[in-house]
């Protein structure tokens, strides 16, 4: 019983890191993705190519590699040494890597959602004298949100599990915490079950997210697009 309490306490701490990384990533990547989506649809060719190149690079290479580069490379390049020091530094580096990576995936989902709204909706707004931003916020946005809920819920659930990749730079997230009991920690070593037990955390949290997306979908079912 003592063992169980010790393990759960450590896993809870790991899960807290996981949750923090998850929410900070969403807070940054949801709006940044929209900016990149607009950039990749821009009439300005250089901006469009820049955004598309960014998406290509961040979708085309492993997140684990991006994390390693973002964590280690500034230490070699910056005169003052790495800005990522201590546990907080690992966390910040992880947040930066995750935000950029996920913003790139989100941007493509947004782009699909925006381009999926019939052009007649935009034209109806135009002939009624609405400005471009009014048309986006009052006409397009909600229709886009409704269209992208299924792919976004997929991506967001993937993000929950991808947070475990931050273990590669020793961020003490959930899997890290579970694995520590195998290597030796809190006076225990060779324990395999805490690692397996982390699955329960992921499963429960993703269950909650699934319920949330189901609720959201139902909430927007009053209109058809």
């Amino acid at each position: 019983m003592d063992q169980f309490i010790t393990v759960v306490g450590a896993l809870n701490e790991g899960f807290w890191q996981t949750l923090k990384l998850f929410f900070f990533t969403l807070i940054g990547a949801l709006p940044l993705g929209l900016v990149i989506a607009f950039g990749s649809m821009s009439k300005l060719a250089p901006l469009r190519w820049l955004c598309r190149a960014l998406v290509w690079v961040f979708r085309g290479t492993p997140l684990m590699l991006q994390l390693l580069i973002i964590f280690f490379v500034p230490g070699y390049l910056l005169p003052g040494g790495t800005p990522w020091t201590g546990e907080n530094g690992r966390f910040m580096a992880s947040v930066v890597a995750f935000i950029i990576n996920y913003a790139c995936y989100f941007s493509e989902i947004y782009r699909g959602g925006i381009q999926g709204v019939p052009v007649g909706q935009q034209e109806a707004g135009q002939v009624l004298g609405m400005s471009k931003s009014q048309i986006f916020f009052k006409v397009t946005l909600l229709q886009m949100v409704k269209r992208i809920i299924p792919p976004m819920s997929n991506e967001i659930i993937t993000l929950v599990k991808d947070t475990s990749i931050a273990r590669i730079i020793a961020l003490e997230e959930l899997i890290f915490a579970g694995y520590s009991f195998l290597k030796g920690s809190h006076g225990y070593a060779g324990l395999l079950w805490p690692l397996f037990f982390t699955g329960v955390y992921y499963l429960l949290f993703n269950g909650i997210l699934t319920l949330f997306f189901g609720w959201l979908e139902k909430k927007l079912s009053y209109f058809r697009v």
């Binding site: 909706q121 034209e123 109806a124 002939v127 009624l128 004298g129 609405m130 009014q134 009053y222 058809r224």
Partner: protein
């Protein structure tokens, strides 16, 4: 003086010349009906008038003053002002699906004059009364029939109080039994101070509602006149052939 005068409007998409020099005038209170086969440029003409396409060449005079000239540059804000003279009812209605009937009508006026929301609400209710849909004010577009949606789209366009209201084949996307209710609403709008341009394939309606009829073919106005002249005494071979096909 004519409320609208169009001079030498031309528009090409790539190598395809869709409008090849269109000229006409419209008096206040007149209903102009534009007929012609598909691809003759009718819809493009309406879209140019509503600034959804920019013509390659041509000028618009509004009450004798230049409103638009194709060789000048205008900012987005200027275009927004200019297009308020015109309203457009689309073939596919294009109601905003996430808003109720009432909100569809008040949205644009509210955005334009945020301090006048109560007046807009009153106007919207009066318009719904006029189109016979007062009881559907809180319905969403997906709960309405096509004919009802198109009537709401007409009310939405009217709420902006355009000087000239344009209809782009307003009944083409409707089942035949629903066209009557929409045509009835359009007919009811005809009055001394409402100026309308209607692109339609409904010849009986055109003959009945029009003050002036334009027959377009291959991007030019082939024939123009009163309904009696155009339908009763067509001169060009193409108009004769067109009318024979639509009889």
């Amino acid at each position: 003086m004519a409320i609208l005068e169009i001079k030498d409007m031309r528009k090409s998409f790539g190598k395809v010349a869709v409008l090849r020099g269109v000229d006409f005038t419209l008096e206040k209170g007149e209903v102009l009906v534009i007929i012609g086969s598909s691809g003759s440029g009718k819809t493009t003409l309406l879209r140019c008038l509503n600034f959804l396409e920019s013509p390659d060449c041509g000028t618009f005079l509004f009450n004798g003053e230049e409103l638009y000239a194709a060789d000048k540059e205008y900012s987005d804000a200027e275009i927004r002002e200019k297009r308020l003279h015109f309203g457009l009812v689309f073939q596919q209605f294009n109601l905003f699906p996430q808003y109720t009937v009432l909100k569809n009508i008040t949205l644009a006026p509210d955005l334009r004059e945020p301090n006048d929301k109560e007046r807009h609400l009153e106007t919207a209710k009066a318009l719904l009364e006029k189109i016979g849909l007062s009881d559907r004010a809180d319905a969403y577009p997906c709960q309405l029939s096509g004919g009802q949606q198109q009537r709401v789209a007409i009310a939405r366009a009217l709420a902006m109080e355009p000087d000239i209201l344009c209809f782009d084949e307003p009944t083409s996307a409707l089942d035949p039994e629903l066209t009557g209710e929409v045509l009835k609403v359009i007919r009811s709008l005809k009055s001394s101070d409402s100026t309308m341009i209607v692109v339609t394939h409904e010849m009986a309606f055109a003959r009945d509602v029009a003050d002036k009829v334009i027959f377009m073919a291959d991007g030019v106005i082939e024939e123009c006149g009163t309904p009696e002249e155009v339908f009763g005494n067509p001169k060009s071979a193409r108009l004769k052939a067109f009318l024979a096909k639509t009889e």
